[in-house]
C-alpha cells in the first residue's frame, strides 16, 4: 500500500540525491541491474521497447494520419472529429491515444502544443518528444510569447494569423494538422507523409518544404 506523503517523498529525493552514482548513465545502469535481480523487469522487454521507440513508434505515424486526411475527405472529417477512431484505423492505438485531438491549421490560424506542467505529448503518434519540448525555456515561453518561440524555429507569423496555444494539462493529447502545401495536388499519400515533420505536428513548423521530396 503506497502512502501518498509528499514530505516523505521530498526526504527520499534528498537521500537519493546524496547516495546515487554521480552520472545518469551509472544511475540507470544500477537501477536496471537491481530490477533484473528483483525479477521486476526482463531486460529483453526493455530491449523490445527501446527498439519500438527507435523504429516503429515515431513521427512517421502522425505523418501517415495527416497525409491520409489530406487525400481522403472522409478520413479528414474523422481525424478532426474523432481522432481515436482514425488512429485505430491505422492500428496505432497505444498509450493515451484514446484521448487524441487533432488541431487544424488554416490560412488564418496556427496551433502550437505545449505542456507547461510536465511534458505531456502524443508519444504514441509522434514518438518520444524532442528534448526542447521538455525544457524550461519552451514550457515557460510557449504560452506567453508563442510568436517569439516560433521565430526561433524560423516561423514568422504575420499579425493577422491568430495563434492558438494548447497547454496539455490533462490526458488529452494534441497534435497539429499542418496545411497541405500548394503544388502537391498530384502527390500520393505516401509522398505526402514523407514531408510532414514532427515539428509541424507540434506546431513549431508551419510551412512544409517540398524541395527534397519532389515526386518523380
Amino acid at each position: 500500500m503506497t502512502e501518498h506523503n509528499s514530505e516523505k517523498i521530498a526526504h527520499i529525493h534528498e537521500d537519493l540525491h546524496s547516495h546515487l552514482p554521480s552520472e545518469p548513465a551509472l544511475r540507470v545502469k544500477a537501477l536496471e541491474s537491481l530490477l533484473i535481480e528483483k525479477k521486476m523487469v526482463d531486460p529483453a522487454a526493455i530491449d523490445a521497447w527501446v527498439e519500438a521507440y527507435s523504429e516503429e513508434i515515431g513521427p512517421k505515424r502522425g505523418a501517415q494520419l495527416i497525409a491520409r486526411a489530406w487525400t481522403d475527405p472522409a478520413f479528414r472529417e474523422l481525424l478532426l472529429t474523432d481522432a481515436p477512431k482514425a488512429v485505430a484505423e491505422f492500428g496505432f492505438e497505444g498509450w493515451a491515444t484514446g484521448h487524441t485531438v487533432v488541431l487544424e491549421n488554416t490560412a488564418t490560424t496556427h496551433n502550437l502544443v505545449v505542456c507547461t506542467l510536465c511534458s505531456c505529448y502524443p508519444i504514441t503518434l509522434l514518438g518520444v518528444p524532442p528534448n526542447w519540448y521538455k525544457t524550461a525555456a519552451y514550457r515557460s515561453r510557449a504560452v506567453r510569447e508563442p510568436r517569439s518561440v516560433l521565430a526561433e524555429f524560423g516561423v514568422t507569423l504575420s499579425p493577422d494569423i491568430e495563434v492558438r496555444v494548447w497547454d496539455s494539462t490533462s490526458e488529452m493529447r494534441y497534435m497539429v494538422m499542418p496545411e497541405r502545401p500548394a503544388g502537391t495536388e498530384s502527390w500520393s499519400a505516401d509522398q505526402l507523409a514523407a514531408i510532414v515533420t514532427r515539428n509541424a505536428m507540434i506546431g513549431t513548423q508551419r510551412d512544409l518544404p517540398l524541395a527534397v521530396k519532389e515526386p518523380a
Binding site: T2, E3, H4, N5, I9, I12, H13, H17, L20, P24, A25, R27, V28, K29, A30, L31, E32, S33, L35, E37, K38, M40, V41, A45, I46, D47, A48, W49, V50, A52, Y53, I57, G91, E93, G94, W95, A96, G98, H99, T116, L117, C118, G127, V128, N131, W132, T135, A137, Y138, S140, V143, R144, R147, F153, P159, E162, V163, V165, D167, S170
Partner: protein, 219 residues
C-alpha cells in the same frame, strides 16, 4: 503546489535549442530508462498523477538541471523507496538485499508488442450532467493547494470560455493523493492572451487549457 514545475509564463529561461539532433535518444541510458519504465512491474496503486507529483517534489535545482530521463530515474526510485519496493542503498548499488518475489512475472519481450497497443483511457463513468455548457464564461480558482493539481498558476483567477467538454476524467488532485479515481467533468477552456498576460499581448491570440470542473466557478 506552487512548485518549480509550474513553468508557464516564467521568464529568464533563455532561448529554445532549435538545432537539437533528430534522433529519438541522445544517449543509450535515456533509451534504457524509458524501456525500464514501460516494462517494469509496479505496485497497483501507482497512478500517473502520483508519478507527476513525485517528480514535482524533487529539489528545484535538480528539476532545472538534471536531464529529463534522469529525472524519471530519480522519481521512480523515490516511488520505489516510498512503497517499500527497494531501499536507497539497493538503488545506489544496483544489488538487491532480498530474494525476488517468487510470484514475480515481469512482462517479456514477446508481450511487449501487445502491451504497446493497449489504449490507456482516463475518462470514467459519471452520473451527473456537466455544470457548464460550451460558450459559458467561467472564472478559474484563485488559490491552489499544497498537493498536485493541474490548474497552472498563470491561469488562476482568470476569465475564460468553455471551448468543449471532454467527458468526466480522473481528477489528478485526488488520484495523486490517494489510490482513488474520482471522475469529474473535464473541459477545454479558452482564454484570450490579453486576459492571461495583459494588454500588450496580440489581439486574437488564445490559450486553450484542459481544466476540471472543481477548478472553475461562475464568474
Amino acid at each position: 503546489m506552487d512548485g518549480i514545475h509550474d513553468l508557464g509564463g516564467k521568464e529568464g529561461f533563455g532561448k529554445v535549442d532549435v538545432n537539437e539532433p533528430e534522433e529519438a535518444f541522445h544517449a543509450e541510458w535515456e533509451a534504457r530508462m524509458l524501456g525500464i519504465v514501460r516494462s517494469m512491474t509496479r505496485p497497483d496503486d501507482w497512478s500517473l498523477d502520483w508519478f507527476r507529483h513525485c517528480r514535482e517534489m524533487m529539489d528545484p535545482s535538480d528539476y532545472l538541471t538534471r536531464p529529463y530521463y534522469d529525472q524519471w530515474m530519480q522519481t521512480y526510485s523515490s516511488m520505489m523507496v516510498n512503497s517499500g519496493v527497494a531501499s536507497v542503498e539497493e538503488i545506489a548499488t544496483g544489488r538487491s538485499k532480498t530474494a525476488p518475489d517468487p510470484a514475480a512475472d515481469p512482462i517479456n519481450a514477446q508481450d511487449v508488442a501487445k502491451s504497446m497497443n493497449v489504449v490507456g483511457t482516463y475518462d470514467r463513468p459519471y452520473e451527473k450532467a456537466p455544470a457548464y455548457a460550451i460558450g459559458d464564461r467561467v472564472r478559474t480558482a484563485r488559490h491552489g493547494h499544497k498537493g498536485h493539481t493541474r490548474l497552472p498558476a498563470y491561469a488562476r483567477d482568470c476569465i475564460g470560455t468553455i471551448h468543449c467538454y471532454r467527458g468526466a476524467h480522473i481528477l489528478p488532485d485526488t488520484s495523486s493523493a490517494k489510490s482513488e479515481e474520482l471522475a469529474q467533468p473535464l473541459y477545454t477552456v479558452v482564454f484570450e492572451a490579453k486576459e492571461l498576460w495583459g494588454e500588450d499581448s496580440p489581439d486574437g491570440d488564445r490559450i486553450y487549457i484542459d481544466l476540471w470542473e472543481s477548478y472553475l466557478e461562475k464568474p
